[in-house]
């Protein structure tokens, strides 16, 4: 039997020197970006915010006065914000990563616009007595704020932001299914407890476990 001629492998195009140089520069840039990410995200603080939101949802459901629901959730937002900021400052001091410099500063500034928009939209919805639309708007805008800040932080943070936005979409689209059973505001409480409560607790624990507190 005649031996099959061995085919020489097709010659591969040599990697050009300047392509390799550009690749090295991109590698350095990406490594620096990853290494300078803001990692003082407070995992335990987030879990505490989730507990506050869950408790707040139970209190909001009591409806002891006409504006009880909205004031309760307002108080939850303020308390959660204070706990979150204190936890972040504590972690940033512990890890030696300043909040007001570099990636920390960028993250904080990116977080604020969507939150300010959320405050304005809350006022508009309140004036038009459209409280049932608030949970979806709050969750989506908070998710947008977390996503924006997450661009300067570890990968799990933007993922958490997307989860809030998905929950906000469920809160808006799913309210028709929940309202006949629980009523409009109790249904809203359910979405807010799952959103601000459970999501914060789950992601907070993951961040605390993977990123040192």
């Amino acid at each position: 039997m005649a031996a099959q001629p061995v085919k020489a492998p097709a010659p591969q195009a040599p990697i050009r020197l300047h392509d390799r140089a550009a690749d090295n520069l991109a590698f350095i840039r990406n490594t620096m970006l990853r290494a300078s990410a803001f990692t003082a995200v407070p995992g335990w603080g987030m879990a505490a915010m989730g507990v506050i939101a869950s408790a707040g949802g139970v209190v909001a459901a009591q409806r002891l006065s006409p504006d009880w629901w909205i004031w309760t959730w307002g108080a939850v937002a303020v308390l959660g914000c204070v706990v979150g900021v204190l936890a972040m400052v504590h972690k940033s001091v512990r890890t030696g990563q300043p909040v007001w410099k570099g990636a920390g500063r960028s993250a904080v500034f990116s977080f604020c616009p969507a939150i300010l928009a959320g405050m304005m939209i809350t006022e508009m919805l309140y004036q038009h007595q459209l409280e049932v639309l608030m949970p979806g708007a709050w969750l989506m805008l908070y998710g947008a704020a977390v996503c924006a800040a997450g661009a300067f932080s570890v990968r799990i943070v933007p993922l958490m932001g997307v989860t809030f936005m998905v929950m906000g979409t469920f809160a808006y689209l799913g309210r028709h299914a929940v309202e006949p059973i629980l009523g409009p505001l109790l249904g809203a409480d359910l979405f807010l407890i799952v959103g601000f409560g459970v999501i914060h607790i789950v992601f907070g624990l993951i961040i605390a476990w993977r990123y040192g507190g």
């Binding site: 300047h18 550009a22 090295n24 520069l25 350095i28 620096m32 990853r34 290494a35 300078s36």
Partner: protein, 122 residues
């Protein structure tokens, strides 16, 4: 068996002077930081004043042994300063980029940029 490192240019690397002028064609690359994992360590330390062994390991996805070997080579070249201490009872190793390490990275960046610029001119 690990492949032996190519020899570095003899004598102290004139990194600071290299960083200021465009790299000359044919000028040898600094082999110490040209290697990807060492380049990653130096790049990470360039944007953080200090990083612990664990932080570097997690950030760069390197194994203990790998990071240790490469960090030792950078330390031997004088690019990285290593401090060993204790945090409570737990040993903690911290790395900082030295001035010559920063200059070596600047020189390497200048070299890469000069290479790209030279090709664009052609």
């Amino acid at each position: 068996m690990p492949r032996p490192e190519p020899a570095r240019p003899s004598g102290p690397t004139p990194v600071s002077s290299k960083a200021k002028r465009p790299a000359v064609q044919g000028e040898p690359l600094d082999r110490v930081i040209h290697e990807r994992q060492r380049l990653a360590i130096v790049s990470a330390l360039a944007v953080n004043p200090v990083l612990s062994f664990t932080e570097l390991k997690q950030m760069l996805g390197m194994s203990d042994g790998n990071l240790s070997v490469h960090a030792q080579k950078l330390e031997a070249a004088g690019y990285v300063d290593c401090t060993k201490g204790f945090e409570g009872r737990v040993p903690r190793t911290e790395y900082r980029l030295t001035k010559s390490g920063k200059a070596a990275l600047d020189a390497y960046l200048a070299h890469m940029e000069a290479l790209i610029a030279a090709v664009r001119k052609q």
